[in-house]
Structure formats: structure tokens, C-alpha cells
């Protein structure tokens, strides 16, 4: 087990290096560069730099050196924890991403809690009453929910709720009057943010319940077919005890693994849900960075997404490995 763990950990390192190379090539291949994008975004009336000045700036920013040299500079700085300065914000990219991650986490973490709160009872009950009306109803409903992307559900919910219930704001994270005037108290600020979180959290929950409840159902069904459940049933235990005390406890193992695997995705979130609700998280910032050609931000963000994805895969291997006796034996 230990060898498996270390082996997987070592495999991650070359993988991450190849990924950094791919990221760098993609960003380098984008037409235009951040310097030109920045000059174009200067406010009207401000003097534009001359051609010579631009050339000089290109030299200072090392845009005239070959790409592998710049890759080497970038990667060695990144290893030291320096991911460059965002030309748009004029602050270190890492600093900005650091605040954005928590906004995204706030949304997705809350949604995860609600998702499991709803999905576990649905999944367990579906499994306990296989092929009943309840089971068929929810297996069809969850299939529909899985089919639809989260942002579609978001569009429906936004139109349904935000338009008719004026108390629920449709977009953003803070109300405009408060942004201008400032919050009167800390509790007003928290309440305002919670109000803005309602719709995106609801969307992510509805979208997540489909996948998770199916997963829970299959996990419980796998357990129910075991001999010890038959034994428990033939001992004369009630259906309730068999399902909740014997079956569900064993099915919890894969369910907990699923939570573990989902943790890295909480920091990444769903780009399109953030785009629909204009939630100022990491996904929306990624879209803005693409349009702004903010190279420092872009490379850091894609690197972060990749890292989360690699970590998620690693956790999946480890967590499913921990509970897989065949791997233990090796």
C-alpha cells in the first residue's frame, strides 16, 4: 500500500511538468500578448507609447527571446513561488487568485454539503426499494439532471426565482448600493452575501444531486447483494435496521471516498455557473483573463486547475485503493 502510494505520488511529478509545458505553449500561441492588450485597454486620452517604446518594453519583458528560454524563466520563478504580476491588476497574480479561490470554495463547499444532505436519503431509499415507483421516479429525474449542464439549470432557476422573487438577487456577490456606500455592519455584509449565494448554491446543488444520488444508490445496491445482508434479513431484523445499520454503513466507504475526490473540484468550481451568476470566483476570472490576455493570471489559473485535476485523480486512486482489498494484498 505504501509503495503504491509513493509510486503514484512520484508519477505526478513528471505529469505536472509536461502539463506546465503544454500550458506555456498554449498561452504563448495565443495571438497578441499582454503588453499590447494592456496598451489597448489604456483609457481614452492617455498617450500611447511609441513604436520604439513598445520595442523597448518587449525587450524588458523578454518577449523577444525564444519560447523555451521564457518557459525556463517562468517555471523556475514558479517553483520559487513567483507567478508573475498581473498587468491588469498590477498586483502579484498569486495574491489575486488567493482571494478568488475562497469565493469559489464558499459557493461550492456550501453546495456540496446540501448536495450530500439531499442525495444520500434519495440514493439509500432508491436502493432499498429497488424498481419501486420512488426508485424509478428518481432514477429518471437524476438522469435528466445529469444530462443538463449546471448552467442550464441556473438559467431556469434565475428566470423562475430572481425575476419573480425580488428579494433574491440574480447576479453578483454584493449589492450595488452597498458596494458604493459600504456595509453598515458585519452582519449586514454576511446577510447580503448569503442572499447572493442562494441561486448559485441552489443551482449547483440541483446539478450535483443527480450524480451523487446515483452513486449512493449503486454503492448501497452493491452492499445489499452481499450475504451478510441476507443473514441480517433472515435474522428477522426490520428493513430499517438492515438498510441503515448494516447496508448503509458499509456503503459509506465509497461515499466518503467520493467526497474526498470531490474536494479539489471545490476550489475550481464551475466556470459557466459563475459566468451565469457573475459570481466573482476563479472561473469567471479565468474567462476575463482570456479576454484580457493577462498572461500571468492565465498561466497561474490553468496551472491551478491542472493541479486540482491531478490531485483529484491522485486522491481517487488512493482512496479507492485504500478500500480495494486486491491492492492491499499486493
Amino acid at each position: 500500500m505504501k509503495r503504491f502510494f509513493i509510486g503514484r505520488l512520484l508519477q505526478m511529478i513528471p505529469l505536472l511538468f509536461v502539463i506546465t509545458l503544454i500550458i506555456f505553449i498554449i498561452i504563448d500561441a495565443m495571438p497578441g500578448n499582454e503588453l499590447l492588450a494592456y496598451i489597448n485597454s489604456l483609457p481614452e486620452g492617455e498617450p500611447r507609447p511609441s513604436r520604439e517604446q513598445i520595442e523597448q518594453m518587449m525587450k524588458v519583458l523578454k518577449y523577444d527571446t525564444p519560447w523555451f528560454e521564457r518557459y525556463f524563466i517562468w517555471i523556475s520563478n514558479a517553483l520559487k513561488g513567483d507567478f508573475g504580476v498581473s498587468l491588469y491588476y498590477r498586483r502579484p497574480a498569486l495574491e489575486i487568485v488567493n482571494t478568488l479561490i475562497w469565493r469559489t470554495f464558499m459557493l461550492n463547499g456550501t453546495a456540496l454539503v446540501f448536495t450530500f444532505l439531499f442525495a444520500i436519503p434519495i440514493g439509500v431509499r432508491s436502493a432499498a426499494k429497488q424498481n419501486s415507483f420512488f426508485d424509478n421516479f428518481f432514477s429518471t429525474t437524476t438522469l435528466i439532471l445529469i444530462s443538463l449542464p449546471a448552467f442550464f439549470i441556473g438559467i431556469y432557476l434565475m428566470r423562475l426565482l430572481a425575476v419573480n422573487v425580488s428579494w433574491i438577487p440574480a447576479t453578483g456577490m454584493r449589492s450595488v448600493p452597498y458596494i458604493i456606500k459600504g456595509y453598515p455592519s458585519k452582519s449586514a455584509e454576511i446577510l447580503d452575501i448569503i442572499r447572493h449565494m442562494l441561486l448559485p448554491v441552489l443551482t449547483l446543488t440541483v446539478a450535483g444531486v443527480g450524480t451523487v444520488s446515483r452513486f449512493v444508490r449503486n454503492a448501497v445496491v452493491d452492499v445489499i447483494n452481499n450475504d451478510y445482508i441476507r443473514t441480517a434479513k433472515s435474522k428477522g431484523l426490520t428493513e430499517r435496521t438492515v438498510i441503515y445499520k448494516h447496508a448503509f454503513r458499509n456503503a459509506l466507504i465509497p461515499v466518503i471516498s467520493l467526497i474526498g475526490v470531490m474536494i479539489p473540484t471545490l476550489f475550481v468550481g464551475n466556470i459557466f455557473v459563475e459566468a451565469v451568476f457573475v459570481w466573482p470566483g476563479i472561473g469567471l476570472e479565468f474567462l476575463y483573463s482570456v479576454f484580457r490576455r493577462d498572461t500571468a493570471m492565465l498561466s497561474l489559473l490553468i496551472l491551478f486547475f491542472s493541479f486540482a485535476s491531478v490531485l483529484g485523480n491522485f486522491l481517487a486512486d488512493i482512496l479507492y485503493g485504500v478500500f480495494d482489498p486486491r491492492l492491499k494484498a499486493e
Binding site: 429497488q130 429518471t140 438522469l143 438559467i155 428566470r159 457573475v278 482570456v290 485535476s309 485523480n313
Partner: protein, 293 residues
Amino acid sequence: MKKQNSMGPWVMALKRFKKNKIALIGAFFLLVVILATLLVPVFSPHPLTDINVVMRYKAPQISHPFGTDQFGQDLFTRVMYGGRLSLILSAFSAVITITIGTLIGALSGYFGGWLDQLLMRLTELVHVLPLIPVLIAFTAIFNMGLPPLERMIVTMGIYGFLNFPSLARLVRGQIMVHKKSEFMNAADLLGLSKTSKIFRHLMPNIFGVIIASSAGIIANALLIELMLSFVGLGFPPPTPTWGNLIPNIRSSGISAYYWMWFFPVTLISLTVISINLMGEGLRLALDPKEEGR
């Protein structure tokens, strides 16, 4: 006594599929949508380029079942026309995914050894790349140089490629299971050629798995086109696609005109749901072990 007819696996699968009412409904709806996207633009009395200012923002009525948009264009015609392009683009992307996924999975599973190692490392690399951010970054690369149609073809092609790992792993697993089975031993003993063993004996056994997963692949490709358009990286108007027919939902301009978003979004949702319901039905029909799960 009546002669007992033996049934082939495909006939049995078809029988099982026919029993699945929900999957049949999905298949039927999908057929209707495909026919509509092919026929409506041809027979519609409202040409695609027809702009009619008097008919702006008209609510659904008999001559305009989905209402009209800000240019007075018939939304029904536009939605159907857009569906044609979107469905073709996603089918194209799915073909790429299925070809690459099957090829890599089959080679990897059949030959094993260093080739398996190499291909699986490649699969793992593509698998861990964050799909949507990388795709958006790629789209941004081609955003300027190419005309829209070619850009979309390239984008969907890249998506098709980036999407191959899960199918490749599935096919590899299936090949490895079947490789050790008795009929493959028999094929070995008969001294059949490698091509014959792979294509005549091994592949037919995994076609079911590939067909069942292709539904999901097409549905996802369809959604990718929508998402890219939603954030402004898809096919630009005036050519309608399902992606750019979903207007910017936040703009206050359309809140009074519910048909502008409701009909496109609902039709697309129903199409995607039907594809998935059909895919689920196919999966259950082609893999009898899954029954009752």
C-alpha cells in the same frame, strides 16, 4: 412442436431496448428533432435572412410557433436551422473521440507491454488536463485567424481529441477481458492473422460498449458548443446555432420576451435528455449484466 429459434446478441439487445419505454421515448423524440432540423429550414416560409422590423418581438402565434426575435426573424426556423449545425458539429466531434478512443484503447489493451505503457501515459496526461479551461484557451488561439465555421470545426475537433481518455480506458479494459476468453484462445489456435483476430473476433464484442457510450459523447459535445457560445467563444451570429440562440439571459431586454430563451433552452434540454435516455437504454440493452441496477 414449434421450432425454437435462437437469437443473436444484437436481436436480443434490440428486444431489450424495445422493452425500455423511457429509452424509446428518447429515441423517438431525437428522431423528430433530427428530422425537424433537416426539414424545417427547407420548407419554412420564413427565409433565414428575412429581417422584418414590424414583426419584432412577437409572442408565439400560429405563423411563428416560437415567436420572433429582435430582428423580426422567425425563431422556430432559426432554432431548427441552428440545431442542424450544432448536431453536425457535435457528431463530428464525437466521431473523433470514438475513433481515437477506440484505436488507442484497442492497441493498448491488445498489445500490452511498452505500447500500452506509452499510450496509457498519454491518456493519463490528456485525462488530467482541465478540459474546459484548456479548450477555452485553445479557442482563444484560433479566435482571430480563422473564419467562424473553420474555427468551430477546429475547436470541436480539439474537444473531440481531449475527450478520448475515458473511452480509451473503457475499450482497453474490455479488450483485456475478452483477450483472455476462450474464443480468443480458439482464434489463436486456428492461427488467424492479427487483423482478423482484432477486427473479426475481438472488436464485435466491444461494439456494444462503444455504441452505448457514444450517446453520452455526442450529448456532451452538444453542450460544449452551447457553453462556448454562452461565454462568447462559439459561433457568432447571424448564423444561428443552438449555442448563440441562447441569448444573454442576464440582459434585462429579454425578460419581457420569455420565448426568446424558453423555447431554445427547453428544446435543447429535451434533445440532450433524450440522447442520454436513449444512451442509458442502449447501455442496459447491450450489457445484460447491468440489468436491474
